[in-house]
């Protein structure tokens, strides 16, 4: 599945719950930044129908394996399928929206 070339990407439907998982490392700036950005973004685009699970890899680094996490912060879209992964602090909103298939008007 290619995010970039699919014209019929998933538009979140009414009752659909988004399940997002954010991997962070303690309170590293990027982790916090990512969390903040994610929250804002979800409030704007998925208000009332999203769940964010925070996984702090400092607490247990082995959780990194479950989603093959290489770097922190990383956001994983578990639901709706398919799984999407965005590495970084999510500061590039445009890119995140496209990566999560929340928006289509991404032009390189």
């Amino acid at each position: 599945v290619n995010a970039a070339n699919g014209a019929d990407f998933a538009i979140p439907q009414g009752g659909e719950v988004w399940y997002l998982r954010l991997y962070i490392a303690g309170q590293s700036p990027k982790s916090l930044f990512a969390f903040a950005n994610l929250k804002k973004l979800c409030e704007e685009h998925l208000a009332g129908r999203y769940e964010i699970e925070i996984i702090d890899l400092v607490d247990d680094p082995s959780f990194a394996r479950s989603d093959d996490i290489l770097a922190v912060p990383t956001l994983v879209r578990r639901l709706p399928a398919p799984l999407r992964k965005i590495i970084g602090d999510l500061s590039n909103t445009q890119r995140v929206l496209v990566g999560l298939e929340l928006r289509s008007d991404f032009s390189p």
Partner: protein
């Protein structure tokens, strides 16, 4: 190669082997298009192609093009191959051509590798290290590989050969490198070689600082350029009464009140320099918390962040409020003090009744005026205004009416004057006007006359047709600032007295002639004063003859002044001065005491008949003390003289006003048993009303009528009428100044009761009195 390079190379190889299934990111730093550079690029490519085929990115950076980049990876020399990923970073410095040589990793290193990644080496440990590395490298997991995107593909096609042969085989890797490149990542998951993972965070190095920030006593936060809170320390969470999860990720604006955008701009500060502002935070409960916000903008990888500190000012604010409250209270007290002080100053410099400046302030103003007119020919004029009829108003209409008069006089004077002039009240009915800048003496006189005219319109009762208060004015003028305030006031005072003595209701200007007169009067006053002090005022006694019997009925005590040389001065020489200066009061008292004492002595010694009376003259001034009866009673008690034998003689003009207070005192005197008579009757304005209302027992017919009895028929008729009148009113009539037998005979004929004069006896010194009495029989 040096040992150091060998060791680095070995480490590099080991690291490459450590996580074979990861994508590698390598950077080769070269310097220009030298042979060395060309060879290094070729070697690096070969190295990677051989061992990391399909799972590496190799970028080539020419440090000559951008020297800055060298620093970013610590590439101190070229060529340097840096392995950026997987962590840890390793650098291989030097010519890479040797890297494919026969150097082999140590058995220990191989074992370590094996232990770490749990993989058995696929090739002999003794083989070339790149071969071995390559042999162990796993094929990329095809299931996880996402096809390279069109963009990257297109770039690859067009990419010129020596620079940036980036290839991607793994979407994660693409994403990762993008994130790394964008500076969005600050921690990495690294395989620990035993199937476990380790987290490398950039925070490790700055942990002490993080601890410091975390445990700060002030709130701290990191805010994105968009205003999102990225980090909040524990204290800030406490301040906002919120869980940190709530705070982080929320816009800063949510926690602020008022003009938030402005506040944010302020926080950012001009030119991103940071600023300190005070504003109110709003905690989770909606309570506002005053804080001082310090900021320091950070530029991290093009990402503008703002680090904020929040100092809770609640305690300080409440302290400030308390201080402000105390300050206000203090200010209030100070204001009260100022008011009180102003009142005191006003009190000290102004007259309470009229609000006019008092003497102290006047003196100050006069001195200022004199000082200003020095070295000029301008004149300073002082007008001493004394109300002629104030005492009368006060006595007949009461003090309230008197106060009204004073106030309206004050108002009139103020209205009349220029702003630069000063009106002061310096005594009961004494006002002084200071005109600091007048042209001449003539000008001053003009002003004085205008004041007189103005005061003529002030009356004690504006509704009734009462007499105007009127005033006498004394003027003194200083030319060119000569003199002092005291001198000017004294001169004006003198001129005022002159005006009064010249008939009131007029103005006199002080000049040298007046000074001479005043000087004379002053000298006379001093003389009289010293005579009083030295008891050189003595009484001469003139017998008063009972006409029916021809016997001496009494004595009139008449004042004489004994000069130091022993000569005797008659009353005419000093009584005017005594009246003017007020010395007539002590003089009258001395005379009263003297007469009572001597008469008593004569009585006790049997030298004079016990029925003999003593007449003493009273001046109107003596009533001004307000308690003449008490004084008289004291004298009578002291001397033991019989009150009934004491006759007090009033000058007719003294009682013309029939002032209530004088009438009262006369009544009390009469109650003592003292007889009261009217002196010089017929010369003044006494009317029948006076005769009836005053508690009199006798009247004295003025000598001017008596002396005319012989020649002037008119005088004879007047004396006759007075004698009849007195008899009809039950008063004793006494004729004064009898000098001839004819006069005596006529008076007896008219029925006059008593008489005195040179015909009987001149006024006698005390020593001659007893003998004169004993041998007389008229």
């Amino acid at each position: 190669m040096t040992d150091a390079v060998d060791a680095t190379l070995e480490q590099f190889r080991t690291e490459l082997a450590a996580a074979p299934h990861e994508a590698y990111e390598l950077t080769l730093y070269v310097s220009g298009a030298s042979d060395l550079s060309t060879r290094a690029i070729a070697d690096a490519r070969q190295l990677c192609d051989t061992h990391l085929a399909g799972k590496y990115f190799l970028s080539v950076v020419d440090v000559n093009e951008d020297a800055c980049v060298r620093g970013t990876n610590g590439a101190l020399a070229t060529p340097t191959l840096v392995k950026n990923w997987p962590l840890p970073v390793h650098r291989l410095v030097g010519d890479l051509s040797d890297s494919d040589g026969g150097t082999t990793p140590s058995p220990e290193a191989a074992k370590n590798r094996q232990r770490r990644n749990g993989l058995a080496p696929a090739t002999s440990e003794t083989g070339p290290w790149l071969e071995r590395l390559h042999g162990r490298a796993e094929r990329p997991d095809e299931s996880r590989v996402e096809s390279p995107d069109a963009v990257d593909g297109a770039r690859k096609e067009s990419m010129p050969s020596p620079i940036a042969p980036v290839r991607t085989t793994d979407a994660d890797a693409v994403e990762l490198f993008r994130a790394i490149g964008a500076g969005e990542v600050d921690a990495f998951v690294v395989s620990d070689g035993a199937g476990g993972q380790q987290i490398f965070t950039l925070s490790t190095a700055d942990r002490p600082y993080r601890m410091f920030v975390e445990n700060m006593r002030d709130g701290a936060a990191t805010v994105s350029s968009g205003g999102l809170i990225l980090y909040a320390n524990r204290r800030l969470a406490e301040m906002l009464s919120c869980a940190r999860e709530t705070i982080v990720g929320s816009p800063l604006a949510r926690w602020m009140t008022g003009a938030v955008p402005t506040a944010l701009d302020e926080i950012r500060g001009p030119a991103g320099l940071g600023a300190i502002v005070e504003l109110d935070l709003l905690d989770g409960d909606g309570t506002s918390i005053p804080v001082r916000v310090g900021s320091s903008p950070l530029d991290l990888d093009d990402d503008r962040l703002i680090c904020l500190t929040f100092i809770d000012l609640s305690a300080q604010k409440s302290q400030d409020r308390e201080i402000a409250r105390l300050g206000e209270a203090q200010a209030e007290r100070m204001a009260d003090l100022e008011v009180a002080q102003a009142a005191l100053t006003q009190q000290a410099t102004h007259d309470a009744l009229t609000g006019l400046p008092n003497r102290a302030l006047l003196v100050d103003r006069i001195d200022q005026a004199l000082f200003r007119s020095k070295r000029s020919e301008r004149c300073t004029a002082v007008f001493f205004v004394d109300l002629d009829r104030f005492k009368h108003v006060n006595d007949t209409q009461g003090h309230a009416a008197g106060d009204d008069v004073l106030r309206s006089v004050a108002k009139r004077l103020e209205l009349l004057l220029r702003p630069m002039d000063t009106v002061a009240r310096i005594g009961a009915d004494e006002f002084v006007v200071l005109a600091p800048d007048v042209d001449s003496r003539l000008h001053a006189v003009d002003i004085a006359n205008r004041l007189l005219i103005e005061l003529m319109s002030v009356s004690s009762d504006p509704t009734a047709d009462s007499e105007p208060v009127a005033a006498s004015i004394g003027v003194s003028v200083s030319v060119g600032g000569r003199g002092t305030a005291e001198i000017l006031l004294k001169e004006a005072d003198m001129a005022m007295y002159e005006a009064k003595s010249l008939g009131r209701g007029r103005a006199e200007v002080f000049d040298e002639a007046l000074r001479g007169q005043v000087q004379e009067r002053l000298t006379a006053q001093l003389m009289l004063q010293s005579a009083l002090d030295d008891r050189r005022i003595i009484a001469y006694y003139q017998p008063i003859i009972d006409l029916p019997t021809g016997m001496v009925a009494g004595l009139e005590a008449l004042a004489r002044l004994v000069e130091p040389d022993g000569s005797i001065l008659p009353p005419a020489a000093f009584m005017p001065v005594a009246e003017d200066s007020g010395l007539v009061v002590p003089l009258g008292t001395q005379m009263l005491e003297m007469a009572c004492r001597e008469a008593r002595r004569w009585q006790l010694s049997g030298l004079t008949p016990s029925l003999l009376t003593v007449a003493v003259n009273l001046s109107a001034c003596q009533f001004e003390t307000g308690d003449l009866p008490t004084l008289v009673r004291g004298v009578l008690e002291d001397t033991g003289f019989d009150p009934a034998k004491l006759h007090l003689e009033l000058i007719e003009t003294a009682i013309i006003d029939l002032r209530p207070d004088i009438l009262l005192q006369l009544g009390r005197l009469r109650d003592l048993g003292v007889e009261i008579g009217l002196d010089d009757f017929g010369t003044g304005y006494a009317s029948l009303t006076h005769l009836r209302r005053l508690p009199l027992t006798f009247v004295k017919i003025d000598r001017s009528f008596v002396s005319g009895i012989e020649t002037d028929h008119e005088d004879d008729r007047i004396v006759s009428a007075v004698v009849d009148l007195a008899a009809n009113l039950g008063l004793r009539s006494i004729a004064e100044g009898i000098e001839t037998q004819i006069q005596l005979d006529r008076l007896r004929e008219l029925g006059c009761d008593q008489a005195q004069g040179y015909l009987f006896a001149r006024p006698l010194p005390p020593a001659d009195v007893p003998q004169a009495i004993q041998h007389s029989a008229w």
